[in-house]
Symmetry: C2
Subunit: 288 residues, 2 copies
């Protein structure tokens, strides 16, 4: 949590605390996106990046990116750009990722297995340390190098594994019970793939990823674009026909991919075709 990267010498918790409090929601959602791009750049051995380059890769405009980064304090060098490694470390720090996270997975079905197998997971500092299920057939089986354990042993296992995040990938009808068990075991951050809202103490952060919501947003955009296309066709037949990899209308250009949350937070950021933004909030499969 604490920490600063540029300035040597210890920075107090005060500093980071202040920073975290004042970072706008919208900005936080995008920081995670910048991080992904930075990781790619780092893999490619790129040492320095300008706000313009980074912004394009992340699907936002450069003014927004610079404003976002300005909330984290000075990160770049004028006339030069941002040091990829430094900026990356700084963002990880602010997002509370620098220590990495130990994750327990509840539900070893298809979704659960898909999740542990998801490479971007470990690559981004999330280590699955335990897998649980309530199906006797499943318990004991090896999944991703771990043995599936009985969800009844959760409390005890948590004491031993010390996870910071739990991922809930169980059927709808088992979700609330599993959630209660996680809460009882002391987990404070839960990412749930159940469509229904889970009841949990206010002190526990439950984030929901709802695939259907993402699909619905996709549906809306399609409906809206179809509309626009009709309008355009009515007025400018050739222009509309020549679409291909061409430009999109300004109105829809701001739209793109992101999922604020795993599959979700909704109202997320938007983005242009190759990269999308708007995590959340909206976007995203994050749903209420």
């Amino acid at each position: 949590m604490t920490e600063q990267h540029e300035t040597p010498g210890g920075v107090s918790g005060e500093t980071l605390r202040a920073v975290q409090k004042d970072i706008p929601q919208a900005t936080v959602a995008r920081l995670a996106a910048y991080l992904r791009v930075l990781a790619m750049l780092a893999d490619d051995g790129v040492p320095i990046v300008s706000s313009e380059e980074l912004a394009v890769a992340a699907g936002v405009n450069s003014a927004k990116l610079r404003k976002d980064l300005s909330f984290l304090g000075p990160n770049g060098v004028r006339g030069v750009g941002y040091d990829v490694a430094k900026l990356r470390a700084r963002i990880e720090d602010v997002l509370g990722l620098s220590e990495g996270h130990r994750v327990v997975l509840v539900g070893a079905g298809n979704l659960g297995r898909a999740l542990v197998g998801y490479g971007g997971f470990r690559r981004r500092g999330f280590t699955v340390v335990g897998i649980f299920d309530n199906d006797p057939e499943m318990i004991g089986l090896p999944v991703a190098g771990l043995e599936v354990r009985d969800v009844a042993d959760l409390a005890e296992a948590v004491a031993e594994l010390r996870p910071t995040i739990a991922v809930l990938a169980v059927p709808e009808d088992a979700a609330q019970q599993a959630c209660d068990q996680l809460v009882a075991a002391g987990l404070q951050s839960i990412l749930s793939f159940a469509a229904l809202g889970l009841q949990a103490p206010a002190s526990v952060e439950v984030r929901r990823v709802d695939l259907a919501v993402e699909m619905q947003l996709l549906s809306f955009e399609r409906a809206r674009n179809a509309e626009n296309d009709n309008d355009a066709l009515a007025v400018l037949p050739e222009a509309a026909a020549a679409s291909g990899r061409a430009a999109r209308s300004p109105a829809s250009a701001a739209r793109a991919a992101t999922v604020p949350a795993a599959i979700t937070r909704s109202a997320g950021p938007r983005a242009t075709s190759h990269q999308a933004m708007e995590p959340t909030s909206k976007g995203s499969v994050v749903t209420p």
Copy 2:
């Protein structure tokens, strides 16, 4: 905006068109969330719901909900509330869901199978009509009542199946190629689970669900709350200790679950404990 449902008689396309254009992004992301709650209410046989009840269930405040619904035209009855069935139909209409959607899935691995098995999917009007993979071992196997087909046959199959949405659940390194095939086959709406941004024509809507982003947002909230808790503890030790299912500080109360997109659109909406909001945009696993 225009439009009326109560009134019998055909409503023109003009009307719906105008409505869609003017609905704020943030509102659209939340409509999908309201829909889920409405579906639950309908299942429970609840005929009428007030803005307050619906808002609480969706994790937003009632003023926001009423404002959101006002963009769809008059939907309720003053002094009474909203007709659950009517409101549901109206929202589905606006989101372009009323005709339902035919979905093709590319990638029959764990994630793909988890997705077709996901009940909330079909229940919300999305019907999987085709499953594709490029693994010879996989092709021909039955999954969810469908036979896995060769992704090479996609173009041909699309002509036959007429899907409106494609879900991409393949490994990172195969994602761009699969995306290109979908685009070539004429798909216009793609929900991708690949972490990387996909290159596609501007006319194609690509929505990304990135699980890692959701986890990162969860990490940030935890870091921020830990901070607040420290502050609270320093000042009010007992109050902080008595957390249980107690109230959360106003600052963090606004936070909750949602994933604007499947797993995100970023910056999505937030919500209170039992129900969360802020799709996507942002919320959600929607990422840039």
